[in-house]
């Protein structure tokens, strides 16, 4: 794409809340396939998407969380997780994402400012 706007996909909903996570991921992968710079942000309940050992198959869904491991193949290398939101939810486990950047809320907000377009799911 000619203008190379930087896109932030902000995930605020839990993994199986109303299909938001899957449709956000689909959009991120499409932007990446057009070589548009895209980053994934996880905040509020969206941090639940990033934890390991989820079982989408039990709900009859595809395991799209496993795609998070492959985001690097799609050149989505910038993955930001709000550490304050992780702690507030008492999550203390491994992430399903490779090399995420764990940021304080302030750093998270500052990172978001670096993007031209913010799409929230």
């Amino acid at each position: 794409m000619s203008n190379n706007k930087r896109i932030a996909i902000v995930n605020t909903a839990t993994t199986f809340d109303d299909f938001k996570a899957k449709e956000a991921l689909d959009l991120a992968l499409i932007f990446a396939s057009y070589e548009v710079p895209v980053a994934m942000f996880f905040m509020a309940d969206g941090v639940f998407q990033t934890i390991k050992q989820q079982n989408p198959e039990l709900l009859g869904s595809k395991d799209f969380i496993s795609t998070f491991k492959a985001l690097g193949f799609y050149d989505i290398d910038d993955i930001y997780i709000c550490l304050d939101d992780v702690k507030e939810r008492g999550l203390n486990c491994e992430f399903a994402v490779d090399n995420p950047q764990l940021l304080s809320r302030q750093q998270f907000n500052q990172s978001l400012n670096n993007y031209d377009i913010i799409l929230t799911f």
Partner: protein, 130 residues
């Protein structure tokens, strides 16, 4: 005194169903953009927004019908309206000719995919998701 006016090109993403009052907010917003002399290069219907394209949508006569409201908007402004077909098929909309299916996507929509949203986003000055 002549004032300089910069026309801004918007791409709009509709994410909400016709049962959500935010869909009317989006329609009013789109109309206001054009009324102020700006441009919309496309309205892209994604997530539950695709339900607005179901040609069988019915509402009581004293309530807004988003099917006809967006149709009127399209006819009066020629604004391209794109439907994400994969999101739409998940929600029971189809243009399939297979036996057992009847087309139920309203004609004012262009059947598109997410790639179209990438193009709209690239060409717009501002992208607004509602």
């Amino acid at each position: 005194m002549f004032q300089e006016f910069n026309v801004t090109t918007f791409a709009i993403i509709i994410s909400t169903a016709p049962t959500d009052n935010r869909t009317l907010t989006a329609l009013k917003y789109a109309k206001a953009i054009l009324a102020q002399g700006h441009q919309i290069n496309g309205v892209f219907f994604y997530q539950h927004g695709v339900i607005n394209a179901n040609s069988y949508l019915q509402t009581p006569s004293d309530e807004i019908n988003h099917l006809t409201a967006w149709d009127e908007f399209h006819k009066s402004t020629n604004t391209p309206m794109h439907l994400c077909i994969s999101a739409a098929e998940r929600r029971g909309l189809t243009d399939s000719n297979s036996p057992g299916y009847s087309h139920n996507i309203a004609s004012h929509f262009t059947i598109s995919g997410l790639g179209e949203l990438v193009v709209l986003t690239d060409k717009a000055d501002k992208v607004v998701q509602l």
